[in-house]
Amino acid sequence: MSERGTEIDRERRRLLGAAAGAGVALVAPAVVVRALETTPRDAPVDGRVRWGLAIDTAKCAAGCTACVDACARENGLDLQHPPEGAEPADWATQRAVWVRKVRLRDDQTGRETNLPLMCQHCEHPPCVDVCPTGASFKRADGIVMVDRHTCIGCRYCMMACPYKARSFIHEALSDQLSHVPRGKGCVESCNLCVHRRDFGLPSTACAEACAETGHGAILFGDLADPDSAISRFLASEPTRQIREDLALNTGVRYAGV
């Protein structure tokens, strides 16, 4: 018995090496190293945490799209290609976008603001309320996402979302990443890099990328923990929710809009 166990162990190590090698070929080495240090979650998520983002628009730079690119890379959105025969203009309206960069001008003051806009992880998410099958759901830890095994692709959640945070997959995909399954006919949106959550990684791809560019405009953390960096930031800076009038108590807050 035990003999066999060790045999499996040895075998596994060999294969892990190979897997890591394959990983290297595909992505930056730093990522691979981190991937090997994960601690997968083994108990169901609960309500003791509420994940959220705080965005300091003052720090968000014009012309930068690092967070958008990082999100695309992390979630395999950049592996999506226009189907053959699609008009580029149409394709631009149909491809999936989980986070976008928006530049605004105040009509009164003329001041310009930059910000990334993604799913706001509402506490009372309209997208969840309307979903007929319950595929659109809010995880106990506050992440709003789509269970794509029960999503029928009706797009009602897209009608309901005040932030246009969701995308419908208009074409067949291939080359998905193992940790982000996604495909034709379902709706998806920013899920606060849920696989990173479950494997115990500290941050989201966008926040990490923004930090790497040196802007540090995105702060990720636990809103339920008063001592977390994000809670302290929210306590110290005046922030607001977009479309506060709807009283959705969003998990993504903006400073300086």
Binding site: T65, T93, V130, P132, C151
Partner: protein, 415 residues
Amino acid sequence: MKRIVYREWRLAPARYWGILGVLAVMVGAGLLAFAYMEHEGHWVTGMNNSVVWGTPHVFAVFLIIASSGALNIASIGSVFRKPIYKPLGRLSGLLALALLAGGLMVLVLDLGRPERLVVALTNYNFKSIFAWNIFLYTGFMAIVITYLWSMADRKGDPFIRPVGVFALLWRLALTTGTGSIFGFLVARQAYDAAILGPMFVAMSFAYGLAVFVLVLMFGFAEDRRPIGARMLRRLKNLLAVFVLAVLYFTLVYHLTSAYGAKDQGLEGWLLFDGGVYTTLFWVGWILLGSLVPLGILYHPVRGAEAPWVAAACVLVILGGLAALAVVIIASQAYPLQLFPGKTILESGFLDGVGGQPAPYHPTLPELLLGFGGVGLALLITAVGVRVLQFLPESLADEVLPIDEETIEQPVAKAA
């Protein structure tokens, strides 16, 4: 009272199969369009991440609310005790079923994952109006079938009225529910209005009746059965009243919108510079869909002539499609107002840079799918009247029951 005699639709086989053939081609084209959309993915449609519901939904919603409206005739006959409408009850029920089936077909075949229909039927989120609608639709089918049974079977006689009342209530719930699919979308300015519910009810009455009258006239003309002047007058008066009601709710809706400060942008856009949507609204919905038919129906001479009444019905139907296109598509094309007091200069995701509406160009597969639904509805009707006794033998004046024609307030009674 004289018994109403119902007869199967007895056309010459060549003619009948010809009609079925045309309808089958319509349905077939719809199915092909579906297969194409399903195989390629939705990128072959004009729908996109901003306008997520397009032409198929215009057809689907039209058919569904028309379905509810088509049953109105049966309700007036048995619930509101207007014996003159009694002979039409069965056709009214059949048409309600058929239109609903057509609408649901379009809706289901447009899903991103239609093969998961079972998922939709087994997983419910009871907070969702949409999920409720699934119940409302399947329930409606069951109730209408019971209703039809009660009208057709002699044992059903005592149940006609209770079932009819139940069907009426259910029907109002169904239309309100369909309207609420939009009405509860707080996110979108155009929808965030309680009046959408009653407006949909009025629309359903008008469109359902228009479809009903057309089908009735066609079915009767083909089989050379008579429709008396009295019946025609009743039907066209009823239609006129319903069209007026739609017009009234349209007015109230836009007045309240224009009054509420936050929606003024939307109103201005839609009514004046929404491009094709403005045209759809004024020319399609208001002029051709409401005013011209009203003119015909209230015309002292034309209003009594069957071809003109049929023309008015066609216009009401076309106007209805235009109205729903405005309600469904224009409202999505108008950008979400995320940052009041600010102008969007640049966005990675079509957020209405400089107030631009989102683009939407319907494509052929979408249209074919929509027509496929219409085809299915008519196909079911055509088969139904052929194999079962749905159509009364005659609607000539002398066979119709006497009715208190002088007091004509169908709306008050129907609504």
